[in-house]
């Protein structure tokens, strides 16, 4: 009965839905109980918070549920085990901060705020961490343009990177609308997660 299983059972009453993919266990919790869940994990033996990061599922194929997901990557040094506690939220929802549990979480939460625009209320100093002050918008959102500038040649010729790459994968068509001809990139039929 490893530490992770014990924690998963502990989190079940809080509405925790465990999932496993390639021996990595993640528990999805709704945002009301997230601080309680992380506190239980810390007392259960996960001494170290390794990372907090966000994922934007805007154009993830066949994605149901909310748009953003914030994952807490907790690691237990004594039991040498790792668990991901995840929260699914939508645009504009606010998550409670966990800087009172670990001071190390302040930069991590500020980075999620900077890159995704997800506020953490109760955070001592929530401001932009990495992107320049005059950059409005959150770069890691899927609807934020990558900002590619076409490569210019001297007789007015140019290569538009998106179109050039769309030949590879058939994703966005880019300026020239070239969809990559018959070699469109296909997506393997989605094998549903466990």
């Amino acid at each position: 009965m490893s530490l992770v299983e014990r924690l998963v059972d502990e989190l079940k009453p809080l509405g925790g839905k465990p999932a496993e993919f390639k021996r990595m266990i993640s528990v999805t919790i709704d945002s009301e109980h997230i601080v309680e869940a992380v506190k239980n994990a810390k007392t259960a033996g996960f001494e170290m918070i390794s990372d907090i990061f966000g994922i934007d599922y805007l154009n993830y194929p066949q994605h149901q549920g909310k748009r953003f997901s914030v994952a807490y990557n907790l690691y237990s040094i004594s039991a040498n085990e790792r668990i991901f506690i995840r929260v699914n939220i939508n645009e504009g929802e606010v998550l409670p901060t966990i800087t009172h549990l670990w001071n190390g979480a302040s930069f991590m939460e500020r980075e999620v705020y900077d890159m995704f625009g997800i506020e953490f209320d109760g955070h001592p100093d929530l401001r932009k961490l990495i992107t320049p002050e005059d950059l409005d918008g959150h770069p890691h959102r899927k609807d934020f343009p990558i900002g590619e500038t076409p490569t210019l040649f001297n007789e007015g010729r140019f290569i538009d990177p998106a179109a050039f790459r769309s030949g590879l994968t058939g994703q966005d068509a880019g300026l020239s609308g070239h969809q990559g001809g018959m070699r469109k990139g296909y997506r393997t039929d989605a094998n549903e997660e466990a």
Binding site: S50, W102, I146, R165, Q171, T188
Partner: protein
């Protein structure tokens, strides 16, 4: 009889108002300390010799003691994760080693391991051993830059030239293998791009035999120098609890008494069959952080030696055609090889949907690539757990109430690499 302080008078207070309060003699005036002393805000900006790279630290100084320290980062933000979402998996290898440009092989290895876990690719033993050798050599080179610039910040210039001389030898070894001194594109998902040249193993052996004497030279140069000892012993102490509280990882955490090394805890790429021990010390000050890396050099040499002895000829690529390119001569003969080659070259492989994370130990701490794949040929989301960004936070507990000169020693001992921090 309450004596009014200047701040009680409102904005425009004149000396007479304060001094000529009725019935108040000079002796019972509030003592000087009650007059609030303004802290001096100092900007140790992005272009500064002692911040390693473009780190900006805003420091509130009361005289020489640091009262408040706020690192401002982002001056080297390159948008790696956003850009890697628009590159195929194989192209991602060129991006990963430019994040922490001192330990490029560590990042390459972490990225490639994550993708291989996603694909369930089986990497041949020889490829794993070569990866371990190159990773450890790069760790030594990264520590050499750490010593060179760390001691340079404290004022000693000579060690910089000694450590760079050894680093040149290591870069020659890398140049022999992958043709480049830095930013190597040598690892591939599923193995290596080419096999190592024949002269490589005995060149590495020759380097290993000569290197311990050089380490004694470094130790002789700075470890016993009592200016260094006085400036670093007992300075910027991080106890075990504050280190864990601030998410410190890597040699700096091991200097605070927590023996966490992911090469030992969760071995990857064949680390489980080399025996090396993880040096720890419980003092947690700048001196201990420097000494951790000196002892780590010896451990890395041990690993390289064992990996070299265990090296035997064999394939260096995953035989599965859907992942690695078929060999050249096979293209002339078999049609499938041409189709596979065409598929891989234009589009790359399509890993199954899912999310994966493999923690590894880079020269600065825990490093891992969290890949989210949507079945397409490009990663949907790449999140790099970088050690330097989170180690930089423990600059605050280390520097508060310390002297300003110790802040420079603390920055040097935490060894942030700005490409790693700002990714």
């Amino acid at each position: 009889m309450t004596v009014k302080k200047p701040s009680d008078f409102g904005a425009e207070v004149t000396a007479e108002q304060v001094m000529t309060q009725p019935g108040v003699t000079v002796t019972d005036m509030p003592s000087a300390s009650e007059f609030e002393t303004k802290l001096m805000r100092l900007n140790v900006g992005p272009q500064h010799p002692s911040t390693h790279g473009v780190l900006r630290v805003v420091v509130d100084l009361d005289g020489e003691t640091v009262k408040r320290i706020v690192p401002q980062i982002g001056y080297l933000h390159t948008g790696f994760e956003k850009t890697m979402e628009h590159r195929t998996y194989q192209q991602g290898v060129t991006y990963s080693n430019r994040m922490d440009y001192l330990h490029g092989f560590g990042h390459d290895l972490a990225y490639v391991l994550s993708v291989e876990k996603l694909l369930d690719a089986n990497v041949p033993v020889r490829a794993q051993q070569v990866r371990v050798i190159l990773n450890e050599l790069n760790r030594i080179a990264s520590h050499l830059v750490f010593f060179g610039t760390g001691i340079l910040d404290m004022g000693a210039l000579t060690l910089f030239f000694y450590t760079m001389r050894e680093r040149e030898q290591i870069l020659d070894l890398f140049e022999m293998v992958c043709g480049v001194r830095m930013n190597y594109g040598y690892f591939r998902v599923g193995g290596l791009s080419r096999d190592i040249p024949e002269g490589f193993t005995d060149a590495v052996r020759q380097f290993i035999t000569g290197f311990p004497k050089m380490v004694d030279q470094y130790v002789g140069l700075f470890a016993k120098n009592d200016i260094f000892v006085n400036r670093t012993k007992g300075v910027g102490v991080l106890s075990r609890e504050t280190a864990l509280d601030y998410g410190l990882t890597g040699p700096s955490l091991r200097a605070s008494g927590v023996g966490l090394d992911f090469r030992k805890a969760q071995p990857y790429s064949g680390y489980e069959n080399y025996d090396f021990d993880v040096p720890t010390s419980d003092k947690g000050d700048v001196h201990a952080r420097f000494m951790m890396r000196i002892e780590e050099l010896a451990e890395s040499l041990k690993i390289i030696e064992q990996a070299l002895d265990a090296l035997e000829p064999g394939p260096v690529k995953d035989p599965d055609r859907r992942i690695s390119l078929p060999p050249r001569q096979e293209l002339e003969t078999s049609m499938e090889a041409v189709i596979f080659h065409f598929k891989l070259a234009t589009e790359g492989f399509h890993p199954p949907r899912g999310e994966v994370y493999v923690p590894t130990e880079s020269a600065r701490g825990e490093l891992g690539y969290y890949l989210v794949s949507d079945g397409g040929s490009m990663p949907y989301r790449v999140k790099v757990r970088v050690p330097s960004l989170i180690n930089l936070q423990s600059l605050e507990p280390a520097c508060i109430d310390g002297v300003f000169a110790d802040m420079v020693a603390n920055i040097a001992s935490l060894d942030p690499v700005m490409g790693d921090v700002d990714k």
